[in-house]
Symmetry: C2
């Protein structure tokens, strides 16, 4: 009987959701074309003036996923430049993230429940977790936070997305 593992509890969730986001971008682009504005205009939208803009929500969602996969596998997460200014570059960023995540073998992630994870912080001491606590109380809630905020920004901007798009239910 297959049992839940650190790989099965992380990688397929990230892959499914990042794939869903690529489809949202298609719908957002079609909405922009129909309304006659550049899809690049989405990048700086914010839900509140002190929340991060759409471009950052997309970057951080992906960075949370790749950072999680890398750290659980004991690798250094690949560093991507935060320099996207166009919709096409945003799509490329998600695709690069998917490529990296798919490249890490399941066996490198499985068994990482007790691995020590050290997370560097900008303004405080690094956070230390076991692999499983890092996955469940840091990586997953952060990942879905940024994914859902990106979704909310597109909905707020009038893009016709629904729960089926969020869940990529087909």
């Amino acid at each position: 009987m297959p049992s839940i593992s650190m790989h099965s509890a992380s990688v397929p969730l990230f892959q499914k959701q990042l794939g869903a986001m690529l489809a949202w971008l298609d719908k957002a682009e079609a909405h922009a074309q129909a309304r006659g504005f550049s899809p690049d205009n989405y990048l700086q939208l914010r839900l509140a003036p002190d929340m991060l803009p759409f471009v950052s929500q997309i970057r951080i969602a992906g960075d949370t996923a790749k950072g999680c996969v890398a750290r659980l596998a004991g690798e250094e997460p690949p560093k991507f430049d935060d320099d996207e200014t166009t919709f096409a570059q945003l799509r490329g960023r998600i695709q690069k993230t998917l490529d990296y995540i798919g490249s890490v073998p399941a066996a490198a992630i499985d068994g990482s429940e007790s691995r020590e994870i050290v997370l560097p912080m900008r303004h405080r001491d690094p956070l230390r977790f076991t692999g499983e606590v890092y996955l469940r109380h840091w990586a997953l809630p952060n990942f879905y936070f940024h994914v859902t905020t990106a979704y909310a920004l597109l909905r707020h901007a009038g893009v016709a997305l629904g729960k089926g798009d969020y869940l990529a239910m087909g």
Copy 2:
């Protein structure tokens, strides 16, 4: 060595996040008092006219959590009436959800990876999953979706929440 299990991958995430939401409600109530409006006014806020209001986001977040815990354990989820109209009732709803989730023994949930989960749908045939697929591609993404949308509504309304409140980092 402790290893990830169906219980450890579900219940502690729900408990932590629902507890965090109770703390957001405290901050939202203080914000309402400082500005001189009733906190009950939050209940009908929406991010877009065709998105569900705050009260529904809170209900569905909790229902997703209790439904997941119940179904993985092979129980019928307890049914709560969707009749909250006040902030105090909303708090009670979250607390009732936490009480139920905490009452289900870990042993009833562990080992549910391959259990057949049948999810009744209002407008289509029921969805069928194995326990693990249900947890990772239905319950967790849905739960965080409604949690984050509730958070976004409070941020949009001017409540001074930050990422630390979302993650309940203390």
